[in-house]
Symmetry: C2
Subunit: 383 residues, 2 copies
């Protein structure tokens, strides 16, 4: 560590001539066998996943839902806070929280997943927030439908996208920015996108976007802009930093495809008990009810399959009905008779369109949308 710091000190300028490019470096891939770096650890210590035993809850309790924050959690004073609507609109509008709360409210149960979930399992590993598989959570978001809020300003026919600006501010790959993302007008006017001021019946916690965030059911987390301060209708496709950052690229020069909707995924609650350090699961022989959740932001999940031999054979799990919750995960279960020895539990989801979770990684340079099937090593002890 000391050696590393000294090495950096020799390379980097010490004086008044230091620039953003000296401290905010291009993205990179980890080298062969390279352990998780200090930078990745610093992100992992701030942001957190959902402990997988919390898959037992229909709605994730406060504090267990995953969190990914690009910069800092901003300190927002709700009394002085305003949402500004502008750009290609008939009239500029400024709304306070009370005005938003006076619009007809809607509550949607949404399973949200970080686009980078599964990144740390990729080979080679893109160096960024090092998620394993826990970057997920389900909440009931209450707010005003986005289309109703947009109607207060009136989109002009020239509007092709809507840009959302958050209050979080920082530097990324050399670019100083507010966090910004856009949605196509058609998606923004879709009935399910919400400007949420409440999570599970309470005001938004600071880390989830207090006082207002965008919720776009079925999309990866990067679309759900937190700490919203401005919405601007624009007459050309948004080309801001995050539009380029969240793309599926083979290499740095590949323009790639944008990351949008959540791929299908099934996760199991790790059975038995853990070893503290290795997190290996330990069970005893006999009947074990495997259970978990499955979701998709594309076509709905139609089937969940479970393997207890590392993908050698698969059996269909029982899936519970979705009920009224199109955008929330569904519970599934499957009985397994454990016998002494080592086992690898896997689960995979298939959508109504026939999209199946892959057994292997679909590698891309940003480490996005890696929905390779979960693998849980389990040891069954002799009786």
């Amino acid at each position: 560590m000391l050696v590393t710091l000294l090495a950096i000190a020799r390379i980097l300028p010490q004086g008044a001539d230091v620039t953003l490019d000296d401290i905010s470096r291009p993205s990179r891939l980890a080298g062969p066998g390279e352990g998780i770096s200090d930078e990745e650890l610093a992100l992992a210590a701030r942001n957190h996943g959902m402990p997988l035993e919390a898959l037992r809850y229909d709605v994730t309790p406060p504090g267990l839902h995953y969190v990914l924050i690009h910069y800092d959690i901003p300190a927002v004073d709700a009394h002085h806070w305003r949402l500004r609507l502008g750009g290609q609109v008939r009239r500029r509008v400024e709304l306070d929280l009370a005005m938003l709360q006076s619009l007809p409210a809607r509550t949607v149960r949404v399973t949200m997943e970080c686009a980078g979930n599964g990144r740390a399992r990729l080979q080679p590993r893109p160096v960024s927030q090092p998620w394993l598989v826990e970057a997920v959570g389900t909440a009931e978001w209450t707010g005003a439908p986005l289309r109703d809020v947009l109607a207060t300003a009136g989109l002009l026919p020239s509007a092709v996208e809507v840009v959302f600006t958050g209050a979080d501010h920082g530097v990324e790959r050399g670019v100083e920015q507010d966090y910004q993302r856009s949605l196509p007008v058609a998606e923004a006017l879709d009935g399910d996108a919400l400007l949420a001021y409440s999570m599970n019946g309470a005001p938004l916690p600071p880390q989830h976007g207090f006082p207002l965030r965008l919720v776009v059911p079925g999309w990866y987390g990067m679309a759900h802009v937190k700490w919203l301060v401005a919405i601007d209708a624009v007459d050309a496709a948004f080309t801001g930093f995050q539009h380029h950052a969240y793309r599926l690229r083979r290499d740095a020069d590949d323009p790639g495809e944008p990351v949008t909707r959540i791929g299908p995924r099934a996760l199991a609650i790790p059975p038995g008990m853990p070893d503290f350090m290795s997190r290996t699961r330990i069970v005893r022989p006999g009947l074990i009810m495997l259970e978990g959740r499955a979701w998709s932001g594309r076509a709905p999940v139609r089937r969940v399959e479970v393997s207890t031999n590392g993908g050698g054979t698969w059996a269909s799990a029982v899936i519970e009905p979705a009920g009224d919750h199109r955008w929330a995960w569904r519970r599934w279960h499957h009985a397994w008779t454990a016998t002494p020895g080592r086992h690898t539990i896997m689960a995979r989801a298939t959508t109504a369109d026939g999209e199946v979770q892959p057994a292997d990684q679909a590698w891309n340079r940003g480490g996005f949308a890696n929905n390779a099937a979960q693998q849980i090593p389990v040891v069954c002890l002799a009786p």
Copy 2:
């Protein structure tokens, strides 16, 4: 990764003869230059620290308080849950939640810190939960004073310690166990220890010990047993696993001293804005109000000092009064005029007993109680 798994597969038994010792290994130190391992990353993805900008809050909002869970979060049904008191007592007692809530309630604001906070900064690094400095949080805990609950059973004169058993169950260093810790009788009868059923005015979240946890103000987190199911008075010092695990040892053979009360620490809110990946702080020239919190579970904090040149010189910060909150952190602030170039911000606390946070690590094999002063690299850009 694949290579590692294959290497392990050659060493470890595959069949029915697998034992706990094959999967639950002795503690170890990371080798020189060894990056964070997959095992440490898996712990970092589950457990989480408090993003340091949350030092701005007197009481940490839900979900931002640090969490460290040894095994799994147990699923406890509050309706069937009971707390059993036994051992060296006049009468065995079983209490349900309503009975505990009918005892006179007390609320205490407590800053809690993991004993392993700072572990990942140690050289060599003990391989366990890889905390940097964020394993802290402050909450208002409401519950029944421990001494009042013990009085319902009546401690016998033979009782020397009180053992607390949680519902979380797992394997650690080859030992299957419920999480258990003890307190000396004198400490247990101290007026500030609490059996808490409420955190910040709401029922305990699952990850913080629902429905009941022990709170021992001033002690590191390992003492505050979560998901309590049993309290047993014993006539000899408790020698369970966690008693041996949480000790300050020079090497594996050193009996060491037990980890008890929280050492003094000051932390600053990282100023300016972050670079996403390196977390380097970026400011612009001019007056910056540095602020943070300081706490101690030993003698109270008497002084906080700030250095803006990596410890070359120190200046006293202004500390706000503790008010009625003896066991909570205190806010401090210090004005700094930033000039272009690289700076290292540090803060350190001194107690009324004259204990000062060290500039260097006080290394021990478990990586406990490392309260070396925080260092924040800051880059001030030219105007």
